[in-house]
């Protein structure tokens, strides 16, 4: 039998009073009670990173955070970071550098990257890779995600924006360059 808890938490700057059961995770509360569906349920066991949110500024996987422990805490999800009309620079970089394909890992990736840049505004490529290694993506091969994070940190055109992947287009009907 689940116990009932009344908690107050702030999500994306807005306070909510919610009644949760002791079996609920933060992800359950966000998605099923508050209809904040940006954080995705990819595995529900902390392996994929699709539900990454910031809890009092720290990146956590919301599926492993026990909802009653969120009383009095502040949660930031990908929706709170920016909107399509007014995206956060990190979101804009993910968009422009194609750091998103199917988009399902993106909410978690963006928040993991946000946590990194908050701690370390000038990361190396290796530091970006390490920060994102807990977030799985099956589409992109990660390069353009790494590129987006570096571009958000240093600005487009900076030589430090190097994901490790480059592309060559020899041109129509050519294979040498």
């Amino acid at each position: 039998v689940a116990l009932i808890h009344n908690i107050r938490l702030t999500v994306n700057g807005r306070p909510y009073d919610v009644t949760v059961r002791s079996t609920d995770s933060l992800l359950d509360v966000l998605r099923m009670q508050l209809n904040i569906t940006g954080p995705k349920r990819g595995c529900d066991e902390g392996e994929c990173g699709c539900c990454t949110v910031l809890l009092d500024g720290r990146a956590v996987v919301a599926c492993l955070v026990w909802a009653p422990l969120c009383d009095g805490k502040e949660v930031l999800t990908v929706e709170g970071l920016g909107s399509p009309e007014n995206p956060h620079p990190l979101q804009r970089a993910f968009h422009e550098h194609l750091g998103t394909q199917c988009g399902f890992c993106t909410p978690g990736m963006v928040m993991a990257a946000k946590a990194l840049l908050d701690q370390n505004p000038t990361p190396t490529r290796e530091e970006v890779v390490e920060a994102l290694a807990g977030n799985l993506c099956r589409c992109t091969g990660y390069y353009k995600i790494i590129e987006a994070v570096l571009a958000a940190a240093y600005g487009d055109g900076d030589p430090r924006v190097d994901s490790g992947s480059r592309s060559v287009f020899p041109g129509l009907n050519r294979y040498q360059w």
Partner: protein, 788 residues
């Protein structure tokens, strides 16, 4: 004459995805993001045996639980057998269970945890039967039969297996100087999209079943669901189009059927969301090849004169696409080489594992792996450089394909040479000759090496009928609705098709909205699979946009006393071709007049039906309109103590025909690298394959590449040799980008430490075992016979 309309083509432009800002801000609505009022949650009782007869299913305790609204078993399914080729798969097992985790009963309840609790209370009595895991055992006549008619799935009527006899291999083997034979295998993988299977089904007020679906093939699935539910097509609507990753997993119906049945039973909306464990246990996986025997007859100068292949495919408990995969395997395992004598025998076999479906690379990746590792082994036997051996044997324009038709737009040479150039292959070879490779100080336990893989694949659902259709509607304000059947599964289909529409119609990209994958709002398409959307749907969209443009021009021409052919549209402006400065009108003005004043229909329609289809009994037929070619080169570092393989540097060269959107091409090729590396080194659904006693149940057990597994130095080489049939010469770039990594990496491991890993994936223990075998002498996996 020059046109004075300012205009920039959108074909070939690096454009971000049209829905990208919704993705990055978490606004995109996936199926699991749908919560409807009064919605119930489904859960299923999963079989605890690999093979058993069901004696009794008792659901009474489950039904008593407060919050449970419905419990269903196989008896509640209007037609409890489905399948694309053979209708052999039950929605809910009713007589036998044939694999671990197979759904036996389903519950709909007011909360997910109540549904799960109810499932625990369902009691199933089984008579356990001995499972058959090994396809080679299952093929034997006395093996317990999984289906009536035995465990070998017929390729066609009166055809138990795919057999190709091109030329005379027996005679050619006598002519050969040396015969090289290798026995290889490949594991079963799981697609592992980040979004697991999920459906939300509800009834509309008139009883129509509406399913929010993550299907890759919504129109095809509507047909299959019509069979299961015994409802006509207009009583079933799939709304899809936005998919959190497909890779072939969502080619198969896994949740749509039961969600619909529970919605019909309860009259309430029902969501069924897989757990990640269910994604591993009950969704389809990819086919395994427990045995591939490659035998080639070769001349001393490196000319391969004959190849004979024997292959056994493990398709799991149900057919799904089954032997179609063996066919695909048979077409590509000869390799992109001019080998005149080619014999093939391949079998599709049932075992007690979860059904396998189509996974990115659908048997083609397997064929390329076997062919290309074998090719490198031939090079080793002859003492030739692997690049030189390939150069000597390349298929050329007009060479006869494995389906007895001429191959056109053959780009073997181009992709091989461009990859070698980008990789600096000659430099590496020179350094090796002079003992300077790898050129950095390595600890004594580490070795480095390089490898090549060359491959090709047909565009489209090769060997099947493959229609695509599109509709382009122009609104009264000049904006455009593009309706296509194929969903966007992440590759950027919506963006590419919108670009094609914008270019052909002559309107800005921003004027277009795309509706995809809704069976009621979009015309039929086979769906998003088999490398086909840019080419097939792209052609259909182009034709539909051309018709819409024609309609607009007709209306404008009427008032000017001209013919439609005298007008053109670019940049959203209709103008007179010969006098663009004299008369112009915005599309919005023409469209408003056409619709609101003249009552004209501004809907262009287009279809595309490729001139390709199945092969006959002897394997003859045109299975695709064109082939795409790719080459991967890899440099790896092997740790001799641990067997760990690190991929250091890679090149992937791909002939895309024409890059409609170069940014999206790069995205596909980057992503294909990760997929291929997973296949080469990590992914194994059954780590003790062929046994299914041990199975991966989580992303902890089943490793897919992370950001840290990607080579720190990667180059995409995007070749553009426009094809004859695709829009602006585009061929394909999606599926095929992941098919050439495995052999390149295995060959690089051999180059590094001299051992062959003939079984995929090359997990550390396999590499260590190969290193041990090398010390003891080869283990009978290879045979080399010199005739002279």
């Amino acid at each position: 004459m020059a046109v004075a309309i300012p205009y920039e083509s959108v074909i070939g432009q690096r454009l971000p995805r049209i829905e990208g800002l919704a993705h990055v801000t978490g606004r995109t609505r996936y199926v699991d993001d749908i919560y409807l009022p009064g919605m119930l949650y489904a859960a299923v009782k999963m079989a605890e045996y690999h093979n058993a007869r069901i004696l009794n299913i008792d659901t009474t305790e489950a039904e008593k639980l407060p919050g449970v609204v419905a419990v269903v078993t196989g008896r509640d399914i209007p037609n409890n057998r489905f399948g694309f080729k053979v209708q052999d798969q039950p929605v809910l097992a009713d007589d036998y269970v044939r694999h671990l985790g197979q759904p036996v009963a389903a519950v709909a309840a007011t909360r997910p945890d109540i549904a799960w609790e109810a499932v625990q209370r369902i009691r199933v009595d089984y008579e356990p039967l001995p499972p058959v895991f090994d396809a080679l055992e299952a093929m034997k006549p006395d093996a317990p039969a999984i289906h009536e008619g035995g465990n070998v799935e017929p390729v066609g009527p009166d055809l138990d297996h795919r057999r190709i006899r091109m030329g005379d291999c027996e005679a050619a083997f006598k002519e050969a100087d040396v015969i090289v034979e290798d026995r290889l295998s490949k594991s079963m993988r799981e697609h592992t999209p980040m979004e697991v299977h999920v459906s939300v089904a509800e009834l509309d007020p008139m009883g129509k079943v509406v399913i929010y679906s993550c299907s890759q093939l919504p129109h095809l699935h509507q047909l299959v669901l019509s069979g299961i539910l015994k409802l006509p097509l207009h009583k079933i609507r799939l709304i899809g189009g936005t998919v959190g990753g497909g890779f072939g997993s969502k080619n198969d119906i896994c949740t749509d059927h039961l969600a619909a049945i529970l919605a019909l039973k309860t009259g309430r909306p029902v969501k069924w969301l897989f757990t990640r464990e269910q994604e591993f246990l009950l969704s389809t996986s990819d086919q395994a090849y427990p045995l591939i025997v490659m035998k080639s007859g070769v001349k001393r100068d490196g000319t391969i004169i004959a190849r004979q292949v024997y292959a056994v495919q493990d398709t799991g408990a149900f057919c799904v696409f089954g032997s179609a995969g063996v066919d695909k395997f048979s077409w590509y395992v000869r390799g992109p080489y001019a080998i005149p004598n080619y014999w093939f025998d391949g079998y599709c076999v049932y075992t007690d594992k979860a059904a396998s479906g189509a996974m990115r690379g659908f048997n083609v990746a397997d064929a390329i792996f076997a062919c290309e590792v074998h090719t490198d082994h031939i090079a080793e036997v002859l003492g030739m450089d692997p690049l030189e051996l390939r150069r000597k044997n390349l298929a050329y324009e007009g060479f006869i394909s494995t389906t007895f038709t001429e191959m056109h737009d053959v780009r073997t040479k181009e992709v091989l040479e461009a990859a070698a150039l980008a990789f600096g292959y000659e430099r590496v070879r020179e350094a090796k000759r002079s003992g300077l490779y790898p050129g950095v100080e390595l600890p004594p336990s580490k070795r480095r090496g390089v490898g090549i893989c060359l491959g090709y694949q047909g565009t489209g659902s090769t060997g099947g009928k493959d229609p695509a259709m599109a509709e382009v509607s122009v609104n009264a304000d000049g904006t455009v609705i593009l309706r296509v059947g194929s969903p966007d599964i992440g590759c950027g289909q919506k963006t590419v098709l919108a670009q094609i529409c914008a270019e052909e119609l002559g309107v800005p990209l921003s004027a277009i909205t795309v509706v995809a994958g809704d069976t009621e709002a979009t015309p039929y398409s086979f769906g998003t699979a088999g490398n086909r959307v840019t080419h097939h749907d792209g052609n259909a969209v182009r034709r539909a946009a051309a018709e819409a443009k024609q309609l607009l021009c007709e209306v404008a021409a009427e008032d000017l006393g001209l013919r439609a052919e005298d007008l053109d549209i670019r940049g959203g402006v209709v103008f007179v071709k010969d006098a663009p400065t004299e008369w112009q009108a915005p599309v919005a003005q023409v469209a408003a007049k056409a619709i609101l004043e003249k009552g004209r229909i501004l809907v262009g329609r287009g279809y595309y039906m490729p001139e390709a289809g199945p092969v006959d009994v002897e394997g003859r037929g045109k299975v695709t309109e064109q082939y795409v070619f790719a080459c991967c080169m890899a440099e790896v570092e092997v740790d001799l103590r641990t067997g760990q393989v690190d991929v250091l540097r890679t090149v992937l060269c791909h002939d895309v025909g024409r890059a409609i959107n170069p940014l999206l091409c790069e995205g596909q090729m980057d992503g294909g690298m990760a997929f291929g590396i997973g296949m080469a080194l990590m992914e194994d659904l059954y780590p003790r394959y062929p046994s299914a006693e041990e199975v991966a149940r989580s992303l902890h057990d089943y490793k897919i590449p992370t950001a840290a597994d990607m080579p720190p130095d990667h180059t995409n080489v995007v070749l553009e040799f426009p094809g004859k049939t695709g829009p602006w010469g585009a061929k394909a770039v999606g599926e095929f980008t992941s098919n050439t990594q495995a052999a390149a990496i295995i060959n690089a491991i051999h180059d590094a430490c001299g051992v062959w890993v003939f079984d995929l994936p090359a997990r550390p223990e396999r590499v260590l075992r190969a290193l041990e075998d090398e010390n003891k002498g080869l283990t009978g996996r290879s045979e080399v016979t010199w005739n002279r």
